[in-house]
């Protein structure tokens, strides 16, 4: 009888460990998937090609810029189209998964010309919120930037 209980316990522990391992691997998969999408977004800026990011933004996407200006998807894409980047880079990109949501944070550095044709030299922190949509695709629902005081 004692032996049977012991085998039951071993079985339960194995099941728990397998579930935990699956959970960790899903989290790591989310983090990798979202980090790849953030790189695609950066690539769209590197190549001045907003089409690369259009599909990554949810219809209800809201951007809050470092000056407090709030824009929706269409306006954000129009601004991206009018901005010409000469150099862009991320620092310390970090993604944290929360089930079907994920938060990406990092530092964005860019030089170029902004949507109004003025010189652009920015150094800012950003927080992007991503959600796994019902069709399985990850989309960004909100992005917020703030200037780094030097």
């Amino acid at each position: 009888m004692k032996r049977m209980w012991m085998w039951c316990l071993v079985g339960l522990l194995s099941l728990g460990s397998a579930a935990l391992s699956q959970d960790n691997s899903a989290t790591s998969g989310t983090e990798k998937a979202v980090a790849a999408l953030e790189q695609q977004w950066l690539q769209s800026q590197k190549t001045n090609n907003p089409d690369l990011v259009a599909g990554l933004l949810a219809d209800k996407f809201v951007n809050t810029a470092r000056d407090g200006k709030v824009t929706g998807k269409a306006e954000s894409l129009a601004a991206a189209k009018a901005t010409k980047y000469e150099a862009v880079a991320y620092d310390n990109l970090k993604v944290t998964a929360f089930g079907h949501a994920a938060i990406a944070t990092g530092v964005f550095k860019a030089k170029g010309t902004d949507s109004l044709g003025k010189p652009l030299d920015t150094h800012e922190r950003f927080t992007d919120t991503w959600v796994k949509m019902p069709n399985g695709q990850w989309q960004c629902i909100a992005s917020h930037q703030s200037s780094i005081e030097m």
Partner: protein
């Protein structure tokens, strides 16, 4: 009406009920988050770390308007720091967008006057908070604010 017709009307009625229940649930979530948003700022004004302990998700990150990041532990430590003093603070224009039943984003304006880490800050910031439903409890996964005006 034929049996097929009755079945179609029944399915349509069921769909309407399901849609209505879903919209009602999303409306409830938005209202709940608006209330939590107010509680969150009230707790901050009172340096009440216990509220943050319960309502900040593990992995929480805060980006403040002067460009610093804070983890959950750092945020709570700041709340417990008695040298941080809030003279006033109010939130307005709270808007909540829900995405399914487990994720929401709130946008709002926060005007405050405070002594934070030895620096006087009186400013209006615009913030975005991400909320996640963790087994029935809404928790903040991230907050990020940027300055609109002030110092």
């Amino acid at each position: 009406m034929t049996t097929r017709g009755t079945a179609l009307v029944f399915i349509a009625a069921l769909s309407c009920v399901a849609l209505s229940v879903n919209l009602h649930a999303q409306g409830d979530a938005a209202q709940q988050i608006k209330e939590l948003q107010q509680q969150s700022r009230d707790a901050q004004m009172k340096n009440d770390a216990s509220w943050a302990q319960q309502h900040l998700a593990d992995g929480f990150v805060a980006g403040n308007s002067w460009g610093d990041w804070e983890t959950k532990d750092e945020f709570i430590k700041d709340l417990e720091n008695k040298t941080n003093k809030w003279k006033s603070g109010s939130i307005s224009e709270v808007q909540v967008a829900t995405f399914g039943s487990n994720t929401a984003v709130s946008h709002y304006t926060f005007t405050y006057d405070a002594e934070l880490r030895g620096t006087h800050r009186a400013r209006t910031v615009i913030c975005s908070d991400t909320w996640i439903n963790d087994s029935g409890t809404w928790k903040t996964a991230a907050t990020h604010c940027s300055m609109v005006k002030g110092k």
